[in-house]
Amino acid sequence: MRFLCMVKMDETNPQGDPPPELYQAMAEYDREGRVNGTLIDSQGLLPSAAGAIVSLADGRIKATDGPFAEAKELVGGYAVVDVHSREEAVELGRRLMQIHVDHWPGWEGSVEIRQIAEY
């Protein structure tokens, strides 16, 4: 089964920029995912300033360029994983958070894990 794992965070980085050790640990994490076959795809996202929101309200479609007004809880990156159970996806999410505990003091955020509909 496949899951979409979205890392959500405050994109203003109140705790400062990510240290190089974080990138290194993330690269190792991706490598593990490739070697155990769980990682299908993963990407980081640019800040919302490079994006836009298209919304529909009261029958009207409106496009608004970023940055988004609500900076907290924005998706900063995602991974698509192929695993045998939700618990495995949760463990992969837990490890991702552990990497932040170990390498980016003060960072807070979450991983939203959603199963991809198949067949």
């Binding site: 190792e28 490598r31 593990e32 490739r34 070697v35 155990n36 076959g37 769980t38 299908i40 192929d82 695993v83 045998h84 159970s85 618990e87 495995e88 949760v90 463990e91 992969l92 837990r94 552990q98 505990v101 170990d102 198949e118 067949y119």
Partner: protein, 430 residues
């Protein structure tokens, strides 16, 4: 955390860690059976400890340290009679507390070595696939038994016999190089594809497909692309399995009855898998092209190219059957496989008309390798049917039905026989 939740979480950790753990332990203890034993001991220890302590921050390192300690105990117990064991116990004791992430530098080599061991030439194909599922894919004996519809005891026996064979062959630590490495990699690819095919069209039993086996094979293919990224045949196999498996959901109806290519709803083909398959094939093609203008792709890349033609076509009629026939011809030259020739007959029958297919089929009919192969009369029946020779088609489908050991396929062929006979009868009366 409830006990059941913890158990499920520990199982998840095992799934994610077992391959890497066993692969590293094989390097360290130089014995595949012992590596698996001490890894199992470590997970048993985890099941005892973690419900109370919670899962450690780095569960992989915890398991590795525990397994190493267990291996030290085993070597120390043997040391009285065995100098080598004494030395291993000493070396291991020195390293047991070193940085647990140190092993990461070896991980690709370790896992590839484990694959070579599981697909060792001294093992039967059945033992190779079973051991690969057990040690590389991390499936339990029960899961493998379920996948193969075999009793659990049979699978357990197969695993222990395979490990004995490996021990006798001294297979655990060898590191093939050069030509031998290429050959062994070829065997690994063959084993993974065998696994895939058993899932894609089950040879035995009630089910037409076993998607779980296909998924494991696709995952193994993906792992191989991470271990050996520069090999076009590795990428070709991964591409082929992604492309083939994109049709899994469309190949059977809600009751599990097979649906043939002509009748498949192509909207149900998995577009994501097709995209991944085509990407992998493009990478493989680029590697082949980099070998020079005369470089001929290997069998996996050719097969993936054929699967890609189907994936790109919007219908059977829209398919470039002439290109497929040409690809089968190249594949046949590479492999000398009569089954490839049979497929070429199908493609020719589509590209140039049923007579062209029959002409090739007549040449193949007496090949010993195809004797007893149910797809020969099945293909012939199909070609007769398209020529309006319903009675002859029915006879071929009946012959094919009697030859297959898959229940779903037998039912399908019997239905086709009846339909062809009815059509034949209508043809006579009109």
């Amino acid at each position: 955390m409830g006990d059941e939740t913890t158990r499920a979480a520990i199982e998840a950790v095992w799934r994610l860690e077992s391959t890497r753990l066993i692969a590293a332990l094989v390097r360290i203890v130089r014995d595949v059976a012992l590596a698996e034993d001490v890894a199992q001991d470590a997970i048993v220890a985890a099941l005892a400890a973690w419900p109370a302590t919670g899962i450690p921050d780095n569960p992989g390192a915890w398991l590795m340290t525990t397994a190493k300690r267990r291996a030290i105990d085993v070597f120390r117990a043997r040391a009285r009679h065995d100098q080598a064991a004494a030395r291993l116990a000493h070396d291991l004791a020195e390293s047991v507390d070193e940085d647990p992430t140190a092993g990461i530098d070896h991980v690709e080599d370790d896992v590839l070595r484990l694959m070579f061991i599981c697909c060792h030439p001294a093992l039967t194909p059945e033992a190779q696939t079973t051991l690969t599922l057990k040690l590389v894919a991390g499936l339990s004996t029960r899961e493998i038994a379920r996948a193969y519809l075999a009793p659990e005891a049979t699978v357990a026996q197969r695993v222990s016999r395979a490990k004995r064979t490996l021990a006798e062959a001294g297979a655990a630590i060898e590191e093939p190089s050069g030509d031998e490495r290429a050959e062994r990699l070829g065997t690994v690819l063959g084993v993974v594809y065998l696994l895939f095919n058993e899932g894609y069209s089950a040879t035995e039993g009630e089910d037409w497909t076993r998607p779980a086996l296909c998924d494991e094979a696709v995952r193994l293919g993906r792992i191989l692309t991470a271990l050996v990224p520069g090999d076009p045949e590795v990428l070709g196999l991964a591409a082929l399995m992604e492309l083939q498996s994109s049709r899994l959901a469309a190949r059977a109806d809600a009751d599990g009855e097979p649906i043939l290519l002509d009748a498949q709803d192509r909207e149900r083909w998995d577009a994501t898998r097709i995209r991944r398959g085509l990407e992998l094939l493009a990478r493989a093609d680029a590697l082949v092209a980099a070998d020079g203008p005369d470089a001929e792709p290997g069998p996996n890349v050719l097969q993936a190219s054929i699967a890609a033609e189907h994936a790109r076509a919007t219908s059977v009629d829209d398919t470039d059957w002439a290109r497929i026939a040409a690809l089968y011809e190249r594949l046949g030259r590479r492999t000398g496989s009569p089954v490839v020739e049979l497929n070429r007959a199908v493609a020719l029958g589509r590209a140039n008309g049923p007579e062209a297919g029959l002409a090739l089929l007549d040449q193949l009919a007496d090949l010993p390798a195809l004797r007893g192969y149910h797809l020969v009369p099945s293909v012939r029946g199909d070609l007769y049917e398209r020529l309006g020779r319903g009675e002859e088609a029915a006879g071929e489908f009946e012959r094919a039905a009697a030859m297959t050991s898959n229940a779903r396929e037998r039912a399908l062929l019997s239905r086709r026989a009846r339909a062809a006979r009815d059509a034949g009868a209508r043809g006579h009366s009109s």
